[in-house]
Symmetry: C2
Subunit: 218 residues, 2 copies
């Protein structure tokens, strides 16, 4: 398979030095986030829906309500854009104009198709869960045949994609560096809070390690 | 103005009890997040781009690279979908099938137009900054006439919109509640890290209160 995911459509045109097209960079971002925004077109109107996803090899799998709405309207391959964004911090420049966000994002374009094969579907569902919270899948009740049928999973080959990254200091106009204004970066990160027991827990039981230790080393 | 933002296109069709259409609910979500995903169509292909935004009254303002790409291709009103998503936690059920995410999202559909008026543009830029980090605008150098011209800002009236919210415990199948599996919610939140001085700070200066106190009461 071609190792580059650059096409005319995915080439980063504005601030091209922020663009990257190698699978290593793209996959690192895809493997870190777990919510994507899926864009599709219906009667000329774009829709953008947040949903879960996972990567297996060179394929992206998505599921959830986006799939449902598309399922009802489109029988075969549908043009989608899947965008994944990690917000890393606020970039606070001396001038309003140079304020920015430090972020890592990936855009994948292509035709998504429905996964019909039960085994592939189950593998995707395992990947969704393990991607969002590693270590959970072995502990839970796996999907029944009926549940598998009730679940729609879309598969999108990662062939046409780009990453866009902004990191580091603000870039101010040269003359503004002399101003008495604090500038820098305020990092933002996602952290877990205290796990909340389901109100219908059968009995008091310890919070499992894959929950209490969530996010360590991610 | 009509207080409801529900139309056939924005009605939440899957799990309709998660849908809301009142401006209070919608604006609370829009005012909490500061990154949106803008969807638009070019030659039949949907694109989804993350960018900053702010709300002023019943209008949503967006800017950044999405605007640039659209600017080059579309001279007038363009159909967009702006989606804002807050991820509140992982919903860990006993069955794989009922795993979910607690989230609050808003979808706004409509035609975005470019803001030409310099005063309105500046007001939008102030709102972008104050929305992302309240208290910053009075401290920084404001946009020059040239910078205003170089900035593209899009305005989208909030007329056709919906909110979708999932909160609380997992919902398992009745028979699964008897299983010896921990279930509950792992809350996720965005927190600021330690502010990082710009490497070109003129001199050592204190981090201002609007940075060090970021997010309190948000």
């Amino acid at each position: 398979m071609d190792t580059s995911t650059q096409t005319e459509r995915t080439r980063v045109k504005r601030l091209p030095n922020r663009g990257a097209y190698d699978r290593e960079t793209i996959y690192a971002i895809l493997d870190k986030a777990f919510i994507c925004h899926v864009g599709y077109v219906l009667d000329g109107q774009p829709y953008v829906i947040p949903t879960g996803y996972a990567r297996i090899g060179d394929d992206l799998y998505i599921h959830g309500s986006a799939a449902s709405r598309m399922l009802r309207n489109l029988a075969q391959g549908v043009d989608v854009c899947v965008t994944v964004t990690l917000v890393d911090g606020l970039v606070l420049a001396r001038s309003a104009f140079h304020h920015s966000i430090n972020y890592r994002s990936v855009v994948v374009l292509g035709k998504a198709t429905f996964v019909e094969d039960a085994a592939e579907k189950e593998k995707a569902l395992e990947a969704f869960t393990e991607h969002a919270i590693p270590g959970r899948w072995p502990e839970i009740r796996w999907p029944s045949e009926l549940e598998l049928k009730a679940t729609s999973v879309l598969k999108l080959p990662i062939e046409e994609a780009s990453a866009k990254i902004r990191a580091g200091d603000p870039k101010d106009d040269e003359e503004d560096y002399a101003m008495d204004i604090w500038a820098g970066v305020l990092p933002l990160k996602v952290i877990p809070g205290e796990p909340i027991d389901d109100s219908r827990l059968k009995s008091k039981m310890p919070v499992p390690e894959h929950v209490s230790g969530y996010g360590q080393g991610r």
